[in-house]
């Protein structure tokens, strides 16, 4: 019987409550999720949805009020669990009085990187994140983007098996974002597990195998990216008709008009079928049909009822 590999992250009925003066605030309510080895999972949701709280529980910054959280089969926040993970926080400052090299040296010592080859590792990391030439400058002089690069360097130090990233490309310029994406794709190619939260839905489509949508501390939807892209697929039909009917089938919208040539968009195959029936009744001449990717944001707005910000 083949040995089953436990999930890298396993969250069961997670509740996290904060006690504030006068009331109790529930940040996460009954969250369940599981992430297997080698998956790249996007964790998206609006502000206050509970993304950062969940990530803090995974790292061990917070203790769950109820529920069980395991990382690599160990209790979340344990030393062994943290030994195999790298973490990039959403907003982190690094000691301003240290240079980039000194800061990475500190993290390398804490990450048990052996002394032999430590300096070479640090130099390689600095090169990888584009900080060569700036390694001996004080972090006080670094911009937000440069500090984020230092953060990425310390997160990937020691080639962790799990990378947890909170708002991965926040504060980065487009070139840096491209570099980060490239880095994450390399991680993915090496079979590492990545769990990240982001507001940038374009990051989700480029990187993820699976998407988890969270709101008000609960998982609203969880789908593989392929399934999601299928869901948001739109069907375009261009046809010539004498005049537009008074109403269109449900889920079908008029995209554009050019003389007698009308371009229709159906959100689902069912809508496209109903459109075809309508056009047949109008003696329309179909010019072209095709498919296009819909807006993920529109999809999520419809799903959770408000914008993801």
């Amino acid at each position: 019987m083949p040995e089953t590999v436990p999930p890298v992250i396993e969250i069961t009925d997670l509740w996290v409550e904060y006690k504030t003066p006068g009331r109790r605030l529930t940040a996460v309510s009954g969250l369940n999720l599981s992430i297997d080895k080698g998956e790249v999972v996007g964790f998206i949701g609006p502000n206050g949805a509970g993304k950062t709280t969940t990530i803090k529980v995974l790292i061990g910054f917070l203790s769950p009020t109820r529920g069980q959280v395991r990382v690599f089969g160990e209790r979340a926040g344990g030393i062994e669990a943290r030994r195999r993970m790298g973490y990039l926080p959403e907003v982190a400052l690094y000691y301003p009085f240290l240079t980039a090299r000194e800061a990475l040296r500190l993290y390398a010592r804490l990450a048990d990187i052996p002394p032999d080859g430590r300096e070479e590792t640090i130099s390689a990391l600095l090169g990888r994140v584009g900080l060569t030439g700036r390694e001996d400058e004080s972090l006080r002089t670094f911009s937000k983007g440069m500090l984020q690069r230092v953060g990425i360097a310390q997160a990937i130090m020691g080639a962790p098996d799990l990378l947890i990233l909170d708002e991965i490309t926040s504060g980065l310029d487009p070139v840096a974002r491209h570099d980060v994406r490239k880095l994450l794709l390399e991680f993915k190619a090496r079979g590492k597990t990545v769990f990240f939260s982001s507001h940038e839905l374009s990051e989700v489509t480029l990187l993820c195998d699976r998407v988890i949508l969270i709101d008000a501390g609960k998982v609203i939807e969880e789908r593989s990216l392929d399934t999601l892209m299928d869901l948001i697929q739109r069907y375009v039909t261009v046809a010539e008709i004498e005049s537009l009917p008074d109403s269109l089938p449900e889920g079908v919208f008029l995209q554009s008009v050019q003389g007698k040539r009308y371009s229709f968009v159906a959100e689902s195959p069912k809508g496209q079928t109903e459109l075809a029936t309508m056009l047949e009744g109008l003696d329309a001449r179909v010019v072209s049909t095709g498919q296009e990717a819909g807006s993920l944001e529109d999809y999520f707005v419809r799903t959770i009822g408000h914008k993801i910000t």
């Binding site: 803090k56 790292i59 943290r82 993970m85 790298g86 973490y87 926080p89 690094y94 990450a111």
Partner: protein, 255 residues
């Protein structure tokens, strides 16, 4: 332990790069030098006066820098979120706490030693002799800064830095003086107030027992070895108590 040493090293580096110890050492030296060289009183050979000023300045400045440095360590780490990438590594909160303790303790001890060397040089220049009790006084002062560091670090987890500095300095002052008051009034008390006073006496740490400066100033001989041993155990015990309390609190804080 290695990880605590790594954190201690960074803590010491921060202190020196902020230049706090330099300011204190230079200021202290200037005051003591002034006391020694400026013959304001028109009388030569005031050895005790120079020693007294030297020790008073040293004791006050050492306590101030120890309290001020320790008070800001953990609160600033939490507020600035520099603790996040640190604790995401395989290092326990206990190791982080101990690292901070080591760092501040080593820095404050270094300040004590530098002040002591300054005083010795000044005394030598002015022809003032000090006995072996001077070195015992330095040792006890070093012990006291380790104890004060533990106390302030522990308090830093429940007080803001500003409040912590104020409360800690007041506690240091109180711990220097309350014992004499209790001893004086003891014979006048009875019943519950007597018991309560005795409990306070035994429980609250006695900072005045770490201060041998009067013996140095007035040229007393060395104190017996058992006194130094007893004070070492005393300081270690109270430091341990505060470290345990602080560690326990730090390990439970939600970040």
């Amino acid at each position: 332990m290695k990880k605590s040493c790594a954190i201690a090293y960074v803590t010491i580096l921060e202190s020196f790069r902020r230049k706090d110890p330099y300011v204190v050492i230079i200021l202290g030296f200037a005051i003591v030098l002034g006391a020694g060289l400026f013959n304001y009183f028109g009388v030569k050979g005031l050895d005790k006066f120079v020693k007294d000023v030297g020790f008073t300045v040293t004791n006050v400045l050492v306590i101030v820098i120890c309290v001020a440095t320790a008070a800001r360590q953990l609160p600033s780490e939490i507020a600035n979120r520099t603790l996040y990438p640190l604790l995401a590594k395989p290092v326990s909160r206990t190791a982080v706490f101990l690292g901070k303790y080591l760092g501040v303790g080593i820095m404050a001890s270094a300040v004590v030693l530098v002040f002591s060397v300054e005083l010795l040089v000044l005394f030598a220049v002015l022809g003032i002799s000090v006995g072996g009790v001077f070195f015992q006084a330095v040792y006890l002062r070093v012990l006291s800064v380790w104890f004060i560091t533990a106390m302030v670090l522990c308090l830093s987890l429940v007080l803001t830095p500003g409040a912590n500095v104020t409360v800690s300095l007041l506690l240091c002052l109180a711990m220097q003086t309350f014992a004499n008051t209790i001893v004086t009034v003891h014979s006048e008390l009875t019943g519950v107030s007597l018991r309560a006073t005795e409990i306070i006496y035994w429980v609250v740490p006695h900072l005045e027992l770490f201060d041998l400066s009067k013996k140095v100033i007035h040229g007393w001989p060395l104190v017996p070895w058992w006194v130094i041993l007893a004070m070492t155990l005393y300081g270690a015990t109270y430091s341990g108590v505060f470290l345990v309390l602080g560690c326990t609190r730090f390990c439970r804080i939600a970040l």
